[in-house]
């Protein structure tokens, strides 16, 4: 705690609200300094495991995605194939078209169809959690645990598909020029780290700046000025980062399809 309580309060930001004083704040918990509030926890082996605002935001997001999926299913099932498509049907169709186009053009006609569900889920989840700052949640992707989990999913997808398509060449490829073996291994390991840090850093940057703004500006400026920044930091940056994350996933997975 360096700058005292004002900046600390600022970083709590437009999140789920201030922590009630019932739960004592840990002295050296970085999460609470960056706006991740703990709501209930158990102490195990000297560490605190508990429910934080990230878990709650993820739960809300999960429910929202499920409800959206059910609604989309209803709309598709009731659509009239010979009539004019309504607004919801048009939105769903363009979303599916977009996902199909990106997967087929990046992973090839042969393999694209197998991955569009995975890529589409990833894209929807990351996009919705990036823009959830608009709805007053603390974005779950501004927590390193979430982005590292996403990057580990990508890591396992890359290597399982590598073994599937290249068999043992996937391992011998690491030793291709023998002196460069350590660099190849570090390159494989650094892929998920750089992907997760890129997403985390971008979303955290937006969250920190918005939190400072909400708490340090005078009241009358808050009526219109944060809206413009919400459009940039949450909508624009979130969409770009979701696109980039899935795009890199596709590029890294389809790298193993060749030969």
């Amino acid at each position: 705690m360096i700058f005292g309580s004002e900046v600390l309060a600022a970083l709590s930001g437009p999140t789920l609200g201030k922590l009630p004083d019932v739960i004592s704040r840990g002295k050296d918990d970085i999460g609470e300094k960056l706006g991740i509030n703990g709501y209930a926890y158990v102490k195990l082996f000297g560490y605190r495991f508990g429910i934080t605002s990230t878990h709650i935001a993820l739960l809300i997001l999960l429910i929202a995605i499920t409800v959206l999926a059910i609604l989309a299913n209803r709309v598709i099932r009731r659509a009239d194939p010979y009539g004019k498509p309504g607004l919801a049907m048009t939105v769903i169709e363009s979303l599916v078209n977009f996902i199909d186009n990106t997967t087929y053009s990046n992973m090839g006609e042969k393999h694209g169809g197998k991955f569009r569900n995975f890529i589409g889920t990833m894209l929807l989840f990351i996009f919705l959690s990036n823009i959830s700052g608009v709805f007053g949640l603390r974005p779950p992707t501004a927590d390193y645990g979430v982005t590292f989990g996403l990057a580990m999913i990508t890591f396992f997808m890359i290597h399982i598909n590598g073994f599937k398509h290249q068999k043992m060449k996937h391992i011998t490829g690491l030793f291709d020029p023998i002196p460069l073996t350590p660099i190849n291994i570090i390159g494989e390991i650094s892929t998920p780290i750089s992907m997760s840090l890129r997403l985390f850093g971008n979303v955290l940057c937006g969250t920190v700046i918005m939190g400072l703004l909400y708490n340090l500006l005078p009241k009358f400026l808050l009526l219109f000025w944060p809206g413009a920044l919400h459009i940039y930091f949450d909508l624009f940056s979130g969409a770009i980062q979701a696109y980039v994350f899935t795009m890199l996933t596709m590029v890294f997975i389809s790298k193993n399809f060749e030969e």
Binding site: I2, D28, I30, K33, L34, S194, L197, R198, F200, G201, N202, L204, C205, V208, I240, Q241, Y243, V244, M247, L248, V251
Partner: protein
């Protein structure tokens, strides 16, 4: 107050270090601007390939942004994690 390495001194140095770490934001700025310029030139030469050029440009810019984000994370760690154990 025991010696010169008291808490406030180390925290002040951490804040200065965080500021210096963010100088690394210049590099990605230059790189992204260069990529955007080249992208604009490519669209000018071949307006039909606008979608492809945009996708490639945004992907390259996002990868170039990584070093700047590393510096941001270093700055945040210096400010909030208190790595010197004081």
């Amino acid at each position: 107050m025991d010696g010169i390495f008291n808490k406030e001194f180390v925290q002040g140095c951490s804040a200065i270090g965080a500021g210096i770490a963010m100088i690394a934001g210049m590099g990605p700025g230059i790189g992204q601007g260069y990529a955007a310029g080249q992208g604009a030139a490519a669209v000018g030469r071949n307006p039909g390939a606008r979608g492809t050029v945009m996708g490639t440009m945004i992907l390259g810019q996002a990868v170039a942004e990584t070093t700047g984000l590393y510096s941001l994370i270093v700055a945040i760690l210096l400010l909030f994690v208190n790595p010197f154990g004081l």
